[in-house]
């Protein structure tokens, strides 16, 4: 009985810890990064704009 309770507490703890880190970025993050990198490259290549 105590073992069961302990196991359940462990599971809940592991679940909560996994949820702590399981975040998803807003959709389209990759594209926003790539667009930003292209803009930065263009700025460096042609600083006058």
């Amino acid at each position: 009985m105590a073992d069961n309770h302990h196991q359940q507490a462990d599971c809940e703890f592991d679940d909560a810890l996994a949820k702590y880190a399981r975040v998803e970025p807003r959709a389209g993050l990759e594209e926003r990064i790539l667009a930003n990198l292209r803009a930065e490259q263009a700025r460096v290549t042609n600083p006058a704009g």
């Binding site: 507490a9 926003r32 990064i33 930003n36 290549t45």
Partner: protein, 204 residues
């Protein structure tokens, strides 16, 4: 003939504009670098985001830190060819960017500065299914506070270890400590968190 010359000249101008006066070999090196950076973005942007979020705990700041991380990668791109493990290299940059930002904004231990004895609020949102609510949500909120209150030495390996993409070896390389230290610190951090959570449950 004249027409042909014009076409060749036109191609030369276009080519020059595209390569910004670089020779063909140099251009292909640049292209390779761009492809390598794009591959890093495609494969690891979520990991970078999660590392940033683990430190900053705010979505907008995590996104800004992710952008800054890849701008640094672009700046250091001349080193990219010599990097043996791009994922760990990137994780280290992401970690450094996020930690620097946290220090700059003075928000590092914001949660820990709250009254540690304050009872948890019921933070269930209207979207949360009723059957999963209070207990799980409260545990999550409590855990968030307790992790923030851990000493850096334990908190840092723990929060990186909770990211599913990170292996202990990679956590170790990111923090500049050995793998055994990561394992023992994570073990210790988990013990502390379990004890504190159990105490809170008992006190209720």
């Amino acid at each position: 003939m004249i027409e042909g010359t014009r076409v060749v000249a036109g191609e030369a101008i276009l080519s020059s504009a595209a390569t910004t006066d670089r020779r063909p070999g140099e251009r292909s090196h640049r292209e390779r670098t761009e492809e390598a950076i794009e591959a890093l973005v495609r494969h690891h942007s979520r990991l970078v985001y999660r590392i940033a979020y683990a430190v900053l705990r705010r979505h907008q700041e995590a996104e800004d830190a992710t952008q800054e991380t890849f701008l640094r990668v672009l700046r250091y791109s001349s080193k990219l060819a010599a990097v043996e493990d791009p994922k760990t290299w990137l994780a280290r940059i992401a970690w450094r960017v996020a930690v620097d930002r946290a220090k700059r904004h003075g928000r590092k231990r914001e949660i820990a500065l709250e009254d540690p004895e304050r009872p948890f609020e019921e933070i269930a949102s209207p979207e949360t299914p009723a059957d999963e609510t209070v207990h799980g949500v409260q545990t999550g909120a409590a855990l968030e506070r307790l992790i923030a209150a851990l000493p850096d030495k334990l908190r840092q390996p723990l929060i990186l270890s909770t990211i599913e993409e990170m292996l202990p070896r990679e956590v170790a390389a990111t923090l500049g400590i050995n793998e055994a230290a990561v394992r023992s610190r994570v073990f210790r951090a988990r013990q502390i968190l379990k004890e504190k959570l159990a105490q809170r449950v008992t006190r209720k």
